[in-house]
Point group: C2
Chain length 295, copies 2
C-alpha cells in the first residue's frame, strides 16, 4: 500500500475511535457538545493521535492502553485551533474549507467549547488511567501531555507567536515558537505513548529525539509550503506568512537552507529509530512523508 | 476568634501557597504568566481551596496531601472567571473593583491566560500525585475535579446560563444551572479532599451532601444579595439580575421562600456533618456563615 493510503487508513481508525469517545449530543448541554464535535470531526491528518499509538507500538507496548491518550491529544490540538481562530487571535472564518467554530456557534460557545475540550481531554485520560495495574505509569504519561500543552509547551509557543506578529524576530525566538507551539505536543504525545508501552530509558530518549526532529521539520515544511505550495492541494491560500510579515524559516535563513535543515532533521530522526526495539517501519516512512508532503 | 477572622486567616494561608505554586514571571512567557498571576492574586474568599483542605481534615486526613488539589481548584475557578468576563460572554470591565484580565492584557492574552490556568491546574495536580504510595487515590481525586469542572459540571452550567440570558426559565433549569455552575465545583473539590483524606463510604456520602447543599445555598444567597445586599459591602452594584432580566431563586419562588430554602439546605448540610469522624467545627460555622453573609 502507498504510504498516503496507510496514513489515511490510520486517520479513519482514529476518527472511528473519536466518535466513541465523544459525548452524546443530548440534554441541556446539546449545543456545547455539538460545538465540540463540530471541530473534532472536522478532519485533518490526525497525526498526533497516530503518533501516540505508534510510539506505544514501537517499543513493544499494547497500543490499546494508549488510546485514551491519543484521543486526549487530538482534543487538546482541536481546542487550540478553536481558540486560535477566534476574532481576538487569528480571526479566521475558515479552516480546512469549513466555517470555523465561532462562525457557526458564536464566539461565546466557541470559547466554552475550547475550554470544554481541554477539560474533557483530562477526563478521558483519567478514565483510561484509573484501576490499572501500574497507575504511576499513567500519571507520568498524563504529565507529559499536560506539560507539553501548557505554558512551557504549546500555550507558551502560541503566546510568543501572537506577540511576534508583524515583527522581525531572531532565529532563536523562532526556534522557541516552533519548538513549543508545534513540536512540544508531538514530543509529549509520543513520550506518553512510549511510557505507556513500557519504553526503557534509551528508547524513551530516542523517541524524544525522533519526535522533536519531526515536529520541528513539520513546522519548517509548513513555512516552505506557504511559499512554494500548491493552493489546490493545500486547501488554503499560500503567501499568507509574507502578507502578514511573519518571520519564518525561509525568511530568516532562506528557502534552500530551510529545505536542507528539514532534511537534516528527518535524517537524524530516522537514525534515532534504529535504537527502538520493535516495529518502526511506519515511523520511518512518516519521517520521509513529513519532508516530501505537498499539503 | 470571630468566624470572619478565621476565614480571612485561612484565605491568607491559601494566598501564600498560591504564590509558591504559581510560575515565575520570566523568559519569553513573562506576559502570560503575569496575566495568570494578575487574576489569581485578585483576592476573593478562597472558599474552594479552603473547602478542599477542610474536607481532607474532617475525615482525619493530612491536609498537606490535598494542597496541590486546593491550588488547582482555585486556578480552575479563576480561569472560568477570566473567560466569563470576556466581551463575548459577560463583557465585564471590573471584578472585585479591579480591571478584568482582558482590559489589562487584551482579549487574546486573556483567552490564553484562561487556557493556561486550566492546563496548569492539571500540571499541579499531577505533580502532587506522582510517586505517592497510593496513586489510585490521587487519580480518583483528580477525576472528581476534572468531571466537576467540565461539560457535566461547571462548563455545562455556564453554557445553559449563557443560553438562558433574557429568558424566563423553569425552576428545574435554574436548579440545573446552580447545581452545575456553582455547586459542582464545591462538591468536586470537597470529594477530592475527602478521598485524599481516606474517607470511608459513609463519610464521602455525607461530605457530598454537605457540599451540594452549601453550594446551592451559596448561589441562592448570591441571588438574594443581588436584591437586598449593601453595595458598599458587596463591592458591586446590586439589582443587576433584575436589570438583566435574569431568572433567579427570588424571581421564581419569591424572596422569603428563597431565604427559607437556603436555611433548609444549611440545616441539612450541618446534619450531614454529624456523620463525619473528625474535626468539623469549621465546616459547621462555614455553613452558618454562608446564609448569614452580607457579601
Amino acid at each position: 500500500m502507498e504510504f498516503k493510503a496507510v496514513l489515511k487508513e490510520k486517520a479513519s481508525y482514529i476518527e472511528k475511535l473519536l466518535k466513541e469517545y465523544m459525548p452524546k449530543e443530548e440534554g441541556y448541554q446539546k449545543t456545547i457538545m455539538e460545538a465540540m464535535n463540530y471541530s473534532l470531526s472536522a478532519g485533518g491528518k490526525r497525526l498526533r493521535p497516530i503518533l501516540t499509538l505508534e510510539a506505544c507500538k514501537s517499543v513493544g507496548g499494547d497500543y490499546k492502553d494508549a488510546i485514551p491518550f491519543a484521543m486526549a491529544i487530538e482534543m487538546i490540538h482541536t481546542y487550540s485551533l478553536i481558540h486560535d481562530d477566534l476574532p481576538a487571535l487569528d480571526n479566521d472564518d475558515l479552516r480546512r474549507g469549513r466555517k470555523t467554530n465561532h462562525i457557526v456557534f458564536g464566539e461565546d460557545m466557541a470559547i466554552l467549547a475550547g475550554d470544554a475540550l481541554l477539560n474533557y481531554a483530562f477526563e478521558v485520560m483519567l478514565l483510561g488511567s484509573m484501576n490499572k495495574e501500574n497507575p504511576n505509569k499513567y500519571l507520568n504519561a498524563m504529565y507529559e501531555i499536560a506539560s507539553a500543552a501548557g505554558i512551557n509547551g504549546m500555550i507558551g509557543g502560541q503566546v510568543v507567536d501572537v506577540q511576534s506578529e508583524n515583527k522581525k524576530i531572531s532565529k532563536e525566538k523562532l526556534d522557541y515558537i516552533h519548538n513549543n507551539k508545534t513540536a512540544a505536543i508531538m514530543i509529549g504525545c509520543m513520550r506518553a505513548g512510549a511510557i505507556i508501552g513500557n519504553a526503557n530509558d534509551n528508547e524513551l530518549e530516542n523517541i524524544t529525539k525522533y519526535s522533536k526532529n519531526i515536529g520541528l521539520a513539520f513546522q519548517i515544511v509548513d513555512d516552505i509550503l506557504d511559499i512554494v505550495g500548491d493552493e489546490s492541494k493545500l486547501g488554503k491560500k499560500v503567501g499568507s506568512d509574507i502578507d502578514n510579515n511573519k518571520s519564518t524559516y525561509p525568511s530568516l535563513i532562506g528557502l534552500e537552507e530551510s529545505k536542507e535543515e528539514a532534511n537534516r532533521l528527518i535524517k537524524e530522526a530516522k537514525e534515532a529509530l534504529t535504537q527502538i526495539s520493535n516495529d518502526t517501519e511506519f515511523l520511518s516512512s512518516l519521517a520521509d512523508y513529513i519532508v516530501d508532503r505537498e499539503y
